[in-house]
Symmetry: C2
């Protein structure tokens, strides 16, 4: 049976495009996944094909698509629907919104992928508390949601806690600073510090740490310390109620989550002030396959306030 008012959300990553179609009540009624092409033309084609695939699965004709949302890495001008400097996609500047709209005859909203994921993670809870989504992937950045809306800040650097310096004697960051949070817990920085290659260097670090190797234990400690610092930065500046942690790191959630909580407790052990904040109870790691970014993209342009809260179960395991 065809569904009206389908919202399509696409998470365009460096290697794959993951997508969902949401029914008006927020239920996921279709999913898709395909490799991302390289360069502007291939990226637009991949988005269009993924959207058409989802619409077909959902039994929605073109006119029944309420909106297409695209979460994409890079600097996004949401008003113009444009992405800049999406280096992992081979895109310098691309008018995603206007092009997808013209191709598929449906409204298209474009957002930075981490900000889109933040919206998805906020919908996961369905409450209105200020929250942050902390993405620990190759890099480290957070999206902030206040009152059901993405908080953009004055110039688009809201949530860039990955580049706060927490150790002036620390490792050099790609941003040019030394000892940024990202140098401690970003996947790219860990791979560089480990410097032994391999397809999954963070997993290799954890394995070596388990085997007692000192250098690996230090990197594993850094990882937990970096995430702890990012959580503190978000709570002591924006004061979010909750920090939902996602990104590539979550593939190792079982092994890392207890260490992050322990780092938060250790850091608070000598500080009644920090202890009173209960930080270890305010974080939550997403399951590895949680499609929060695609779900958040699907919600772009929707008035989240009027949305049925999405079922946690659907988002986490749907």
């Amino acid at each position: 049976m065809p569904v009206e008012g389908v919202r399509i959300g696409l998470d365009v990553g460096g290697t794959k495009i993951a997508g969902v179609a949401l029914a008006p009540d927020g239920e996921i009624i279709a999913r898709t996944r395909r490799a991302t092409g390289w360069g502007a033309v291939a990226v637009i084609r991949g988005i269009a094909e993924a959207a058409q695939d989802l619409a077909a699965q959902a039994g929605a004709a073109a006119g029944q698509i309420r909106s297409i949302g695209v979460g994409i890495p890079g600097l996004v001008d949401a008003d113009a629907g444009r992405v800049l400097h999406a280096v992992n996609l081979g895109v310098e500047s691309l008018d995603v919104g206007p092009q997808v709209r013209a191709l598929l005859n449906a409204p298209c909203h474009v957002e930075n992928d981490v900000k889109a994921a933040a919206l998805g993670a906020a919908a996961l809870h369905g409450d209105r508390e200020p929250m942050a989504y902390l993405n620990i992937g190759t890099g480290v950045a957070a999206g902030i949601v206040i009152d059901g809306r993405i908080w953009r800040g004055a110039r688009g650097t809201a949530g860039e806690v990955g580049h706060l310096v927490v150790d002036p004697g620390g490792r050099l960051c790609g941003c040019g600073q030394r000892g940024c949070i990202e140098t401690l817990c970003g996947g790219g920085a860990i791979a560089r510090a480990w410097a032994r290659g391999g397809a999954f260097p963070v997993r290799d670090v954890l394995d070596a740490a388990d085997a007692g190797e000192e250098a690996a234990i230090a990197l594993r400690d850094d990882l937990a310390r970096g995430v702890s610092a990012a959580v503190r930065a978000l709570v002591l500046s924006v004061d979010v109620e909750r920090v939902v942690i996602g990104g590539g790191l979550t593939a190792l959630a079982d092994r890392i989550e207890p260490r992050i909580r322990q780092a938060l407790r250790d850091d608070a052990a000598e500080s009644p002030f920090l202890l009173s904040l209960g930080l270890d109870e305010r974080i939550e790691l997403l399951p590895a396959s949680s499609p929060v970014s695609a779900i958040g993209a699907a919600l772009l342009g929707a008035d989240v306030a009027q949305h049925t809260p999405l079922e946690k179960e659907i988002i986490a395991h749907g």
Copy 2:
């Protein structure tokens, strides 16, 4: 000639109560200043007498006072008009709002003094850009104003950037952590690190640094480095457009401001990312006598959106 709709604002500090009366157009029409008493009874009496003094100066009878706002250090429950843990005032818990309302028969709003000052500093500009007021006094904390309103966050720790750790090998902070921003630039921490007594230790440090003393130069560098770190934390998390710096430090603004700007430039020198943020142009130091906290207190409960922007001139020099 009596003025109707006078708003009274009081900044209740550890040593003095400073107050202003604002005409409906935001102009300062009266000012007062008196020593703060010790303990609950004396604090309430001081507030009531200061308010009456301002009302008399403004020629406003009791019924013509539109509101009394009180900015006060400590943990404030704004809804209840209650302050907790105002240790510098000898107050553990005090229902300021209800008591002042009963005494003077006028609406009374109570707010943490830094948050009140943030509102005053935002009114100083009259624009609607997200901004922060960074108070560098004995301690270090910021108030954040978004869309003309104080941003409280989820649990009241918004703007507590003074307790972000930026150097794990740093000095011990009163909060129990090591290397907090406050250990670098808080007046209390500088006095403890200087450890030579004196009525104005930060000024002594600057004098000794000018004379070439190494320990003093290190403390002076720390000061600029700490303020720079606080500014970065506010921009990379909340992304405020502007950071207005106030507090006791501003008594030394001429000697410190260039060093803070230089620290912001130095920190950005190796980082195109930081450099692009133009942080050194986004800060502003208030003149030492700027009564932003009293002005902000006077604006508590007012719909700032509908206010005539206060004249910069009036606030800075009024």
